[in-house]
């Protein structure tokens, strides 16, 4: 295991913490946890692309960064009244 994979393995359990906040806290706090989880997932994908020398993972990271941003914006707008 190289240093990139090691850092990815350290960061991945942080997603469980974000998931727990999503499940247990209020919808607004859950949205914040979801945004943080999106950033961490993007970072983990970048780390795996470098650590495993697999270039498709970096494309996945770019796409995921954009989609998580758009998704969080949509949920934030819905949160104003509907959720």
């Amino acid at each position: 295991m190289n240093e990139w994979e090691l850092v990815a393995a350290i960061l991945a359990p942080a997603l469980l913490v974000c998931g727990a906040v999503c499940a247990l806290a209020s919808p607004a706090d859950g949205l914040v946890a979801l945004e943080l989880a999106g950033t961490i997932t993007t970072t983990v994908l970048m780390l795996l692309a470098e650590g495993l020398r697999r270039q498709p993972f970096i494309d996945l990271a770019v796409v995921f960064a954009v989609l998580s941003l758009v998704g969080a914006l949509v949920i934030a707008r819905l949160l104003e009244h509907d959720l």
Partner: protein, 109 residues
């Protein structure tokens, strides 16, 4: 170990530490508006990791895309934080624009 590897490792550890700090902040803070600050911090952690990849790989395909991803997260992070805080404000206290209009109508009468 070359200076590139040392610098990449330092940036990698710093990025990882920032992201872990952001998760710690998410758990430790009590209100939503306190918690939302840590989304921006995590974006800077991602930028540091992208910089670490760029230092190691130089401007290659993977380095360019890592830089693009980090820049996207840092540039649009404040937009996301602002939108979230605005939604939380409207959800808790109502739309302030309606309150301003009502106040203006009352003053007009």
């Amino acid at each position: 170990m070359s200076w590139r590897e040392v610098l990449a490792t330092v940036l990698l550890v710093a990025g990882c530490a920032l992201e872990l700090l952001a998760v710690l902040g998410l758990v430790a803070m009590r209100s939503t508006l306190d918690r939302v600050h840590y989304v921006g911090l995590a974006a800077f952690g991602a930028l540091l990791v992208a910089a670490a990849i760029l230092v190691r790989e130089s401007f290659s395909l993977i380095g360019d895309k890592a830089l693009l991803t980090g820049a996207l997260l840092v540039l649009f992070g404040p937009v996301l934080v602002h939108t979230t805080a605005r939604s939380v404000r409207i959800r808790e206290h109502g739309d302030w624009r309606h309150q301003i209009e009502r106040h203006a109508e009352e003053e007009g009468e």
